[in-house]
Symmetry: C2
Subunit: 213 residues, 2 copies
DNA sequence: AACGGACAAATAATATATTATTTGTTCCGT
DNA sequence: ACGGAACAAATAATATATTATTTGTCCGTT
């Protein structure tokens, strides 16, 4: 009743967190024995988790050579961004069409906790994810949502990597607020345009930094 | 140099094949020990494979209760189809824009082997996948392609399931041919419209059958 | 000194053993 | 006869042990 969380899920959650937050750098070797000891589980559980993360695209396996954190590149970021723009636009359109009063208030609350984000690093990251997920969550298509989540995680990784080099020069909170306003007034065209711009602009800034070889 | 295929990859490939081809029915229990014995590998390898397939959405894990083949439903098929229409349209647009002469001939050859499909069941399935993949393969976005593959596998599962109840009453080969013609004449609008119709029509027919509860 | 091969250490991959949880069955009480 | 506790069998989950491959280092040869 309390914690039905299996060991593998722990491994996956922890590794995903560490990869997305860029505590584990791209290309870093993922030593199975070390990870097992760190998390306090068996090697088998770690391998199982790594296999799942590989399917998500956060980890790469080189046969007989073990696992590494997935690499990054400019072209990957570009493709990722365009894919995310496409998917998230679809989701947002669907959400605006189908979302009810509960969805609206959910978006509102998510934005509020985003406004008070400076509390802690981890909380801010969580609030950001919550907001973006709230926006699209009412689209009614589980497959699109699954992909949205995957792409979001990938994007976040790039964003966290860049934070180590330069903070955003834009009014990101303002952009989020604009999107929320458009969403709440059910202006699909405006909302999707703003979201597209938000995603592309973030990527554009990252592409300008030089943390990518 | 010859076969660097690891055991886990074998497990994944085999299980995916059996699930997609509907030899393993939705909801079927996946006994780890049995599978391990069948494939001739250790239980660990099987668990690792199952974890990967879970991330792909072909397998569901119930903590402490093992694994099952992912379930199906009318709503899932609908959502799946709409997601696939959206993604595959994007990919096709990109392919038509970027694809070169090599891509064209690749599509042509894939269609030819599709025409001679009646050879064997397995060969026909492979040809079908090859054709659909050839169409979108030049889109230049690895993320979209990754998703296209995922959704294609899911769709195929529904299609194979339905084959046990009724064969398609349409001229499917003709539809494929029309798509190819539109693609080769670089008529993006026509090609995407035909592809959308092709995917939706297939789903519509499946929804009419009663293999879905 | 540079290259190459052989040995040794590390570690990924696999197999087996152990433990814990679930599920099915039997048997008792009402 | 029905319901439920108690036991037993099955099996998922985990831990440990073994094997095979890779990687790094040292030494000998040219």
């Amino acid at each position: 009743m309390s914690a039905p969380e299996t060991q593998v899920e722990q491994v996956i959650a922890r590794l995903r967190r560490n990869i997305v937050s860029a505590r584990l750098m791209p290309g870093a070797k993922l030593n199975i024995a070390t990870l097992a000891q760190e998390v306090g589980v068996s090697a088998g559980a770690v391998r199982e988790g790594l296999a799942a993360l590989q399917a998500e695209g956060l980890v790469q396996a080189e046969p007989r050579r073990g696992f590494r954190v997935a690499g990054i590149s400019r072209s990957d970021l570009s493709e990722l961004t365009e894919a995310r723009v496409a998917i998230e636009r679809l989701c947002l359109e669907g959400s605006i069409k189908r979302g009810g009063i509960d969805w609206e208030s959910n978006c509102r609350r998510a934005f509020e906790s985003l406004s008070e984000q400076s509390v802690s690093e981890a909380a801010g990251m969580q609030a950001h994810e919550r907001f973006h997920h709230a926006l699209v969550s009412a689209c009614g298509n589980r497959w699109l949502l699954k992909m949205q989540r995957m792409l979001y995680a990938q994007s976040e990784r790039y964003r966290h990597l860049s934070i180590r080099f330069a903070s955003p020069s834009r009014d990101v909170l303002g952009e989020h607020g604009q999107i929320l306003d458009a969403v709440l007034s059910r202006d699909t065209e405006k909302a999707t345009t703003l979201l597209d711009h938000h995603l592309r602009e973030t990527a554009r800034q990252l592409l300008q930094t030089d943390f990518l070889t």
